[in-house]
Amino acid sequence: MRKLAVDVVVIGGGSTGAGVVRDVAMRGYSAVLVDRADLGQGTTGRFHGLMHSGGRYVVSDPLSATECAQENAILSRIQSSAIEMTGGYFVTCPGDDPAFADKFLTGAAATGVPAREIPVAEALRNEPRLNPGILRAIEVGDGSVDGWQLVWGAANSAKVHGAQVLTYHSVTRIDREGNRVSAVHCTDLKSGTDVVIECNFVLNCAGPWAGQIAHMAGADPVDVIPGRGIMIAMNHRLVNRVVNRCIYPADGDILVPVHTVSIIGTTDVKVDDPDNLAIERDEVQQMLDAGEVLIPGFRNARALHAWAGARPLIKDKRVSAADTRHMSRGMAVIDHTERDGLDGMLTIGGGKLTTYRLMAEHIVDAMCDKLGEKRECRTAQENIPGPEPTKNYVVTHRLEEREHDRLDEQIICECELMSRRMFTEALAVQPKGTLDDLRRQLRLGMGPCQGGFCTTRATGIALESDHIDIERANGLLRLFLKNRWIGLWPILYGDQVRQTALDNWIFQGTLDIEHLPQQMSEVAL
């Protein structure tokens, strides 16, 4: 057993938890973040990559709109390398109510969200694939963000300020002394070691799993209603700006250019279990139909991969529990002292990735109040370390890097232009990582071939690095292909079937990968 003692334990390694541990550490508290999986493996890694301008909420949720606009400006400055300043359009499609655009412009003015109507011809000139029948177009400051870069950036910043980050540490128990939370028990899933972390305070940032964590501390049930949304990555950038439909928030109303793909999303269905998110065929069809409205011919474009995420929505008495789209997206800090007579713990729910820094500020402010201390939040002032701390992401950056090192470096993943050095360096940092852990940082296997060419290379290089043995190497390979398939088979049509056939031909046909020596057990993490 391993023992730690800190001021604050942050539970949950999504954007909220990473933002919170950074804030706590910057205010001078000793802190440790725990997550049962990798950073950004839950909701943060399963969204559509939109850095909201606030436009989406100017009519339906003015407070969120203002928060988004302010945070968008802050994050694109302090965390520039995770964010691409694509800009965005809100477009009125044929059949949509053109009057909504007037409400939109009024709402934008009232909430401080920069927006201006532009001629339809200008929108079509800049985004030639857009439906030529659009009636109105409004330009806003949407961007796209890499959720994993965002969360790792915040976590690394927290580490600079002295925090510890323990991934693959699953919380098993939360101890109380009297009415006060006193320790968090975890199991290090990679080594099997138990870890006990004594603490003064617990900040529950477990998102859709926050109810389970609160329950462990003996709080009354917290009604987190996971709202499932599916997203589909389409090959190439069908658009270079975020394109939103200028209507009340609905399913499939946003297309976001992220890295080399465009992501359409999303749906919103109440689910019971955030660990079991299906990608339903009818929802896929719904997304393709919605895409067809924005981009005629969308169905003929190549879908690469789909995924589902669970929104961490806190139940709001005003709407029925089945209607998660209209549940409050606003953040909610639950004070367990008033509610459950439990001191030393706060739970946060709701919110959105764009406002992750602000959510952290709120919950840490609330913690400071509880502790009777006055410590200023400085997270908006200090830049987060990144590859290029003052430059925003541009989609061509890897191409530029490979042009520079092409004579010295092999390209291991051609689709995403990942070099051998990028892979070996990430592996050295996470020698116990799975190929998916590395993928989230490197985009390994996320392009058109979905791992067809790079999976065996990555496995071979990992084995040669001596961080892993042959049994684990084969296990990692098997796990990676299995996990890629989860997001492939629900959207398999057109050219991606052809790609899958080629991949099967390589893996089954040429490499006979099914007849590698029998695994003693499958690798799970």
Binding site: R299, F453, V497, T500, D512
Partner: protein, 442 residues
């Protein structure tokens, strides 16, 4: 002279075109892309798994032919495959292919699995696994598709599929005594180690493809340089496993390397581009051209004209303008989903993309499932149905067009990659189709 249009330039199309031209008809070979041979492993599979490992392919396929009526082998039959294999061997000769239809080689793959295949390049067969063999698996540092440690460590811990099998020999067709005998024996083992050498294919290039290396190995001076680097690192009695890049055009490159090293060598096929496949492709293409086959690459078929119970003409979008090819007979050898011969659209509709032919295997539910390591995906067994003369049939068993035949991967009913049957299906159906066409036209 009678005219035949063959569509598709993979193993089936090239084989059929050669046989048809040799039979005295005028053959036009239309191709859209580069042909499947250059994407595969570059050996000739007949049957590798049922799912049990197969040692005698022709014997086992006879059993499949009788027990699985939907399988292409049920119509092609052991005799058809035998004819196809012998025809290809005769066409290409022992410099390109060795082996026989009654015995599978068990050859290491580029991840270190042991893969059954029927005919192989002579440059590969020293890798046939046998108890007590000593292998040194050698990587090239600048070639990223071959990781010798992965190959070696998997081979070293593999129980050999055919135990103490000492030699390859003809065996009875009435049983598979070798397989039966070895099932009872203690499995054999290999002694395998790995090493890498750094011999640049091109100066100042760190990321060289298999094809780049193959071209380098065509040069005797490069082979000498390579052998000088590697020879001191080898131990007595070792057989050397190398990535399959030992020469593209020079079919003696591999044996020259072996001679210069003073050790037997074997090539291990890589993911595409497939150098051994390119060698087969080049040889079959050269033979076809020599036999008078007219080759029209870059031919995207965009429509067809039917009448009098048959196909009258096929429209192709070629450079400059659309153009129609007319013929007495058409042979469809376009492959499956991998080549675009079949398409699944976003609404779930599967189509054969040249003639819109009726497809078999669509009744499986679901066509695609979510268990990657589970059962074969039924989608990839979808294809056309053929009769014994290889004419395309509809669901009721009636001929769709009197003069339309099919060969190769477009024929449904098999899991070609998993069972390692694609080449046997291609060859058997190609020779049967060619022979039916020749008979019909004579």
């Amino acid at each position: 002279m009678s005219r035949v249009v063959v569509i598709g330039v993979g193993l089936a199309g090239l084989t059929a075109a050669n046989r048809l031209a040799a039979g005295g008809v005028d053959v036009t070979l239309l191709s859209k892309g580069i042909g499947g041979l250059q994407l595969g492993q570059g050996t000739i599979d007949v049957l590798g798994y049922t799912p049990d490992r197969v040692t005698n392919p022709v014997l086992t396929l006879a059993a499949i032919a009788s027990s699985r009526p939907e399988h292409p082998y049920a119509v092609i039959g052991a005799a058809g495959v035998h004819t196809g294999i012998e025809y290809l061997k005769g066409l290409l000769g022992a410099k390109l292919l060795v082996g026989d239809v009654e015995t599978n080689y068990q050859l290491p793959t580029a991840v270190g699995a042991i893969r059954p295949t029927c005919l192989a390049s002579p440059s590969m067969v020293a890798g046939h696994v046998r108890d007590g063999a000593k292998f040194a698996i050698v990587g090239l540092r600048r070639l990223k598709d071959f990781h010798p440690k992965l190959v070696a460590e998997n081979l070293a811990r593999s129980a050999l599929p055919d135990g103490a099998q000492p030699t390859r020999s003809k065996r009875s067709l009435f049983g598979d005594p070798i397989a039966e005998a070895f099932a009872k024996q203690t499995p054999g083992h290999l002694e395998v180690r790995h090493l890498s050498v750094d011999v640049p294919a091109r100066e100042n290039e760190i990321d060289s493809s298999g094809l780049t290396y193959a071209r380098a190995f065509d040069d005797p001076a490069f082979r000498a340089r390579f052998a000088e680097t590697l020879r001191p690192l080898l131990a007595d009695g070792e057989t050397v496993g190398l990535p399959a890049v030992l020469g593209l055009n020079d079919l003696t490159a591999w044996s020259d390397v072996a001679e210069k090293l003073g050790h037997p060598v074997f090539e291990i096929p890589l993911p595409p581009p497939s150098v051994p496949g390119m060698r087969l492709n080049a040889a079959l293409t050269a033979k076809a051209k020599a036999a008078g086959v007219r080759m029209v690459p870059g031919s995207w078929t965009v429509g067809f004209r039917a009448g009098n119970g048959g196909i009258l003409g096929l429209s192709v979008a070629a450079a400059g303008a659309q153009r129609e090819f007319t013929a007495d007979t058409f042979l469809l050898a376009t492959g499956g989903f991998e080549s675009g011969a079949l398409n699944l659209d976003s609404h779930g509709l599967v189509t054969e993309t040249v003639f819109g032919l009726p497809l078999a295997g669509l009744d499986a539910e679901p066509l695609i499932h979510g268990d990657y390591w589970g059962a074969e995906q039924p989608l990839f067994r979808v294809g056309v149905r053929v009769g014994r003369d290889m004419r395309v049939l509809d669901g009721a068993g009636a001929v769709v067009h009197d003069n339309l035949y099919a060969a190769g991967g477009i024929i449904g009913g098999s899991s070609r990659w998993a069972e390692k049957s694609g080449d046997g299906i291609a060859l058997g159906s190609a020779v049967l189709a060619a022979d039916s066409i020749l008979k019909e036209l004579s």
